[in-house]
């Protein structure tokens, strides 16, 4: 009966209750969705780091990471691989040779890290081979009489291997894609021109188009305007094992595209045997052993295990390799909790305020109820239930709205193309797929109920202070 009465009381002042419920709904929705958004962003960064960049555990010679000195290498790569492979929980092990050098083309050059890999083994640990830009080649798959190098999109752009130009074919392709004639007409003015880099191209296009045209068609124009010549060449210059400078010409095997500018600009992949041949480094010596494990939760214990077997080597897990990422994944739940806490605290004040008004308005009625024998506990629970109903109806509506929005956006993601440059500089994708765990929803539900209960306490106590004789005295 009290439950029913409380529920009906909520709808006594329909407008006011709806306003409160709506604000709870909006607050919870915003909270849940922002958390899902942040969560998706971090999860994507995490997956990218593990699957494309560092994997779970890396072994190097002592202080290699610190000094980046190619003379710090491990002699018996195969022995290490054999030992590590049989440790329970280890899924895959690969070895890499790493040297630093310069990558150059006729027009440009850039400092890079050159990594020797075994492509077949590497595929079982890293997904880089899945990110190849269509039409730029493959992951060391085709036979070639030339030496092959696998590089990132940003390096390709920097070295002018990927070029931007608007020629007749680009213009006709844009025409087919229903780009308005006036834009094509404007683009004709830069037809045939060569741009030294992407930036220059972007700024030129920006200067000839209006803001609206750019917003609508900028991305499309960029996608159509870039071109890549197959079998492009690139020179790599580095030191051999006796510190003599070596230069060699490479063809591009393929170009990968991930969401990390730094990584794309700096990493050049060759076959291990090519590095051995060009530097004279021993076939069985390696700079780095990369390990993928079956369950990331065991990364610390497995790291310890490996460490104890190779005390003379540096063994680091992903948390030590990317402390910022580790911190983020460790504390992210507290941050979500805090975030939701702040939203709920704000909502609690709204509920307290409303319920105080309710108690004030119903002084006489509450007095009457105490007079006829409704005890304090029951008056208290009635007011409390009303607050809880307010917060729960709003909370559930907000969570459902948030959940639906997450499902809808999770499929295609939310694309912030205009911020891509800035976000990818930090290794974050600008195309975000919100995601959230069920446990988060459980936590929010609990928090909402707590909020409802907590914010009802003060108004309910006020209701108890009423003196029935005073309350019903009619003037």
């Amino acid at each position: 009966m009290i439950l029913k009465t409380a529920w009906k009381n909520v709808w006594r002042n329909r407008v006011r209750s709806l306003v409160v419920i709506a604000s709870v709904t909006v607050g919870i929705f915003a909270g849940v969705f922002s958390v899902a958004f942040m969560n998706g962003m971090i999860a994507q960064r995490f997956d990218a780091a593990i699957d494309e960049e560092i994997s779970h555990i890396q072994i190097t010679g002592k202080d290699y990471v610190l000094n980046n000195d190619p003379s710090i290498y491990m002699n018996s790569g195969d022995g290490i691989v054999q030992t590590v492979s049989v440790i329970p929980g280890v899924e895959q092990v690969v070895v890499r040779k790493m040297i630093t050098g310069m990558a150059g083309t006729a027009s440009k050059s850039a400092g890079v890290q050159i990594i020797g890999i075994d492509p077949d083994a590497e595929k079982r640990i890293f997904k880089l081979y899945k990110t190849i830009i269509p039409g730029t080649g493959d992951y060391f798959e085709r036979e070639s009489k030339y030496e092959l190098a696998f590089i990132g999109q940003d390096l390709a752009k920097e070295l002018n291997i990927i070029r931007f130009s608007v020629d007749i074919t680009v213009l006709s392709r844009l025409g087919e894609k229903e780009v308005p004639v006036e834009i094509i007409h404007k683009l004709k003015s830069i037809s045939g021109r060569r741009f030294p880099n992407e930036k220059k191209f972007t700024s030129t296009v920006t200067s000839i188009l209006t803001k609206r045209e750019l917003k609508e068609y900028g991305q499309l124009i960029k996608e159509e305007a870039w071109s890549y010549r197959e079998n492009s060449r690139m020179t790599l210059t580095f030191l051999d094992k006796d510190n003599n400078q070596v230069s060699s010409v490479f063809r591009i095997a393929g170009i990968f595209d991930i969401k990390n500018t730094m990584f794309e600009q700096s990493q050049v992949f060759l076959r291990n045997e090519v590095i051995s041949r060009l530097t004279g480094m021993d076939e069985s010596s390696f700079h780095q052993v990369v390990i993928r494990i079956t369950d990331i939760r065991n990364s610390e214990s497995i790291t310890e295990d490996i460490r104890s077997r190779f005390p003379e080597l540096d063994v680091k897990n992903w948390k030590e390799l990317q402390p910022d990422l580790a911190m983020m994944t460790d504390y992210v739940h507290q941050i979500y909790g805090l975030f939701m806490g702040i939203i709920l605290a704000a909502l609690a004040f709204g509920i307290i305020n409303t319920m105080l008004m309710v108690v004030l308005e119903r002084t006489k009625e509450l007095g009457m109820l105490t007079a006829i024998g409704m005890n304090k506990r029951k008056v208290f629970s009635m007011i409390m239930l009303e607050s809880v109903f307010l917060s729960i109806t709003g909370g559930i509506a907000g969570m459902i709205a948030g959940w639906i929005t997450i499902i809808l956006t999770a499929k295609k993601g939310i694309n912030f193309t205009q911020y891509a440059e800035g976000m990818e500089a930090f290794g974050y994708s600008a195309h975000i797929f919100p995601e959230i765990s069920t446990s988060f929803f459980v936590m929010v539900t609990v928090l909402i109920i707590i909020t409802g209960v907590v914010s009802s306490v003060y108004p309910a106590l006020k209701a108890l202070k009423l003196d029935p004789a005073e309350a019903i005295r009619t003037e």
Binding site: M1, G373, M374, A469
Partner: protein, 228 residues
Amino acid sequence: MKILELKNVNKIYNGSEVHVHAVNDVSLEFREAEFAAIVGPSGSGKTTLLNLIGGLDMPTSGSIIIDGTDLSKLKSSQLIDFRMRNIGFVFQAYNLIPVLTARENVEFIMSLQKWSKRERDERTFELLKAVGLDERADSRPSKLSGGQQQRVAVARALASKPKFVLADEPTANLDSKSATTLLEIMEKLNHEEKITFIFSTHDPRVVKMAHRVITLVDGSVATDEIRE
């Protein structure tokens, strides 16, 4: 049988400047099935007296004994419970919970007392029939006239079979026809259920229907006459 006794009851309101002696040395006795009116000019202490009898307020001195229980001996939580079981209230206004139907309002006290659904339904039907509102059982108070609302309040007051019903100016907001109807219903219930009614009023027609009339002047009992 004596159900209610007031012994030398005083109530003094202590304001910052004035002390109001609202009830002055009142001693009264009520028996089963009485139908008593408390009358007197405005400010004579009718409401105060009824509040004291109902345990809504505590006397400054003297004692009020209901069916052998001295109200001043009860803790405040016990007092609320005691009211629920022994006293029915009808106020001048704000009697009903506006979001509940007539039926639910009558049921309310019984459900607080954890009566079974069947008992509740039976008693509610019986009472609403007695006050002539069985047809309007599912109407909310706002859909009922003032007189009908007061009749629901009377039904509610009787719901838990109290020792007596207190009504402070139950007809004050009613037209004379509704007032008479209400009093007739109260009188009938008084007769049928053998429940004592103590009500205050200004209305001479209502006073006329009482079987006992207690007149207060300045907080003291001036006359106490029984007529049949």
